[in-house]
Symmetry: C2
Subunit: 408 residues, 2 copies
């Protein structure tokens, strides 16, 4: 008997009718002889409704009470799904995070799972029941309700799959898999049958928001095969696994991009040891993530130091750098929020030279100026002007032969 963890997000359980549909889907899977653990999110709109009530009471709601409030969203869904399964004659039992228990640290609104006690779930599975677990939530050792932060239901599903030694973790969503790029930008984008965890991490963190990054890291660390599927259509979806399980990897798996970028340049700063730390230390201390970093060749003992931050951290970063630049004797601090990052992602890059060359050549042919370049083992990213985003994505998608029907 295979053990499957299935996760259904807010849209998939967004109405009574959809909850019924999920119940049928779950029952079919159970009747086929599988043990099934179902993780569900709050019905779509419910978390926002609860948040609005909280905000109406306080602009900064007490985090412990906020978690107690938000966790009711998933609790409603598990109970309704439990009823729906019983009503079609399927034995089932629901558990809140506290009932499992899913033990977390006490970082309210963004808690991390520390331990899952699987005994109660295993017992229920052994008696032939479908087990339903509330996503997104846990409980501290002191008995306080916590939440894992937005998208935490994916993490719950993967963590449960790891704790229970499940054969596969199926994430049902409103897309039918992972695509070579965003189909809204490139209509010829193609669904991938397989992708590695590492590629998925790059794709996810670069803006392909199908799976929460934390859940992918968790799956990678605990070797949990994850499948991304559509709640509304049949199909094999995309299997996310370790590299060794993947079929012969294409050289580039997909083109990811992010609009959430801003660029900052500290101009003509004295080029001496420790300058990077002097500039980035205060930024980091303000909890601002720095992504691409570039230091120009020094001229006359001066250098330009450029880096990117998330766009919504731009204002704060500029304010901090005003002081820092004065202190360092820099000439100026320049900012640009009209930039984006476009990346070619693929484990195949490791063993294939020429990927970078193909990329730069394709962009040059379209007269797209590259402002910054960053490389890793499995991706090459370029920072370009925002106005070129769609053109760059389509150009690279074609250059790497990713479109539907293309031979890879």
């Amino acid at each position: 008997m295979a053990l499957i963890v299935q996760k259904f997000g807010g849209t998939s359980v967004g109405s009574i009718e959809r909850i019924r549909a999920v119940a049928e889907r779950v029952q079919t899977r159970h009747r086929a002889g599988n043990g099934v653990v179902v993780v569900v999110s709050a019905m779509s709109g419910e978390t926002d409704r609860l948040l609005q009530m909280a905000k109406a009471i306080s602009s900064q709601p007490n985090p412990r009470e906020l978690d107690a409030l938000l966790s009711t969203g998933e609790q409603v869904t598990i109970a309704l799904l439990g009823m729906a399964l019983h009503s079609v004659g399927q034995e089932a039992i629901s558990f809140t995070g506290a009932q499992v228990p899913i033990e977390t640290d006490s970082a309210h609104t963004k808690a991390r799972i520390e331990r899952i006690e699987g005994g109660r779930i295993r017992q229920a599975l052994e008696t032939g029941k479908v087990v339903i677990v509330a996503g997104f939530q846990g409980i501290t050792a002191e008995g306080d309700i916590t939440t894992l932060g937005r998208g935490g239901s994916d993490t719950t599903a993967v963590a449960l799959a790891a704790a229970l030694g499940a054969d596969e973790c199926e994430i049902y969503t409103d897309v039918d898999g992972i695509y070579t790029t965003d189909p809204r930008v490139e209509p010829r984008a193609r669904r991938l049958d397989r992708i590695t965890f590492e590629e998925m991490l790059e794709m996810a963190s670069l803006g392909a928001k199908v799976l929460q990054t934390r859940s992918v890291e968790f799956a990678m660390n605990y070797h949990v095969p994850v499948r991304v599927l559509s709640s509304f259509a049949e199909g094999p979806g995309t299997l996310v696994t370790n590299e060794e399980n993947a079929m012969e990897a294409p050289r580039v798996s997909g083109i990811a991009f992010s609009r959430n970028e801003a660029k900052i340049t500290v101009v003509a700063v004295p080029d001496r040891p420790g300058i990077a730390h002097a500039i980035l230390g205060p930024i980091s201390a303000a909890n601002i993530n720095v992504d691409v970093i570039l230091q120009n060749v020094s001229e006359e003992g001066k250098t330009d130091f450029t880096f990117t931050v998330e766009r919504n951290d731009f204002g704060r970063a500029m304010a901090i750098l005003g002081d820092v630049a004065r202190h360092l004797g820099a000439q100026d601090v320049l900012g640009d929020t009209e930039i984006v990052k476009v990346s070619a992602v693929g484990v195949g890059m490791r063993s294939h030279a020429g990927i970078a060359a193909t990329m730069f050549e394709a962009l040059a042919r379209e007269n797209i100026n590259i402002q910054m370049i960053s490389t890793s083992e499995i991706k090459i990213s370029v920072v370009i002007a925002e106005k070129y985003l769609e053109l760059a994505v389509r150009t690279l998608h074609r250059a790497f032969g990713l479109e539907q029907g293309a031979s890879t």
Copy 2:
């Protein structure tokens, strides 16, 4: 430092504004130097909203899942009240029934409290926090969420007051106390300063639905003084206590009535031992409560056997009796759903003759025919035709001098 348990019902916490108002009220009480434990219900309408979702999925929702669903209603309220208290600078902490824990049996949707572990609450009170507890809910020894049934928040409040040895349990509601009768029937009804538990039980079970019967029984058994107050107006309310604490009791405290009555007569049944059991046994086996029972004087070895049931059990009871009456050789079974019960209630009756005489005389003067009579130590009930209800209540209210401004 006095310890007060305050309970606010669904209407009192029915909106963000009202939750804020409750927070202010609670804080005022806390600042006056009292330890305060607040028990809250679900926001008005919320339990019905959840029930509707459950009913949309199944006409008979699984009871365990129904409890998991319904318990979210109070959890939302405790969290919002917790935030509201924090936002006005009042330290506070919320607990679900499971977090307290309030241990119950496993009779889902109508569980009974078995034990309250007060350690976590006491600890919070000692650090100067206001403690907020979700009413209506508990948890079994196995960790399953239970609910106490409608109105169970009163029971939670009284049980907590008993477990914590609170000085008083204040029940905030939409009326400003217990009245001598329903003011909608008799506008001259008067608020009582005090009432005994026993009287309150008779008033409540007879239709004055201010306090849930179970909570009054609980308060009586554990000697918890209960005060019924308005959430929306200032005032002393009505104190419900043991008889020995009451001021000199008036002879009759109030006139209660119930429309939820139906009368059944088994006509000309052979008058022999065991006949009552033969008739009422099957009724009781069907879980139908019988209230007033009357057996006429026998004529020619035959007797008429009459009793009342709740009106919504009438159809079932008549169906059961069809068989029973045939089997017993009864002549006929007659039913009447257009009857009501009106009662004079008061601990003073015990020592005062003449209450019954006053009651019967007053009704006779208005030509109201009495169909059945039932008496106890502290009440006299009559069953009359429904059309006389208002007239009978007003007549008795006046006959016992209960109206506002009357000397008692």
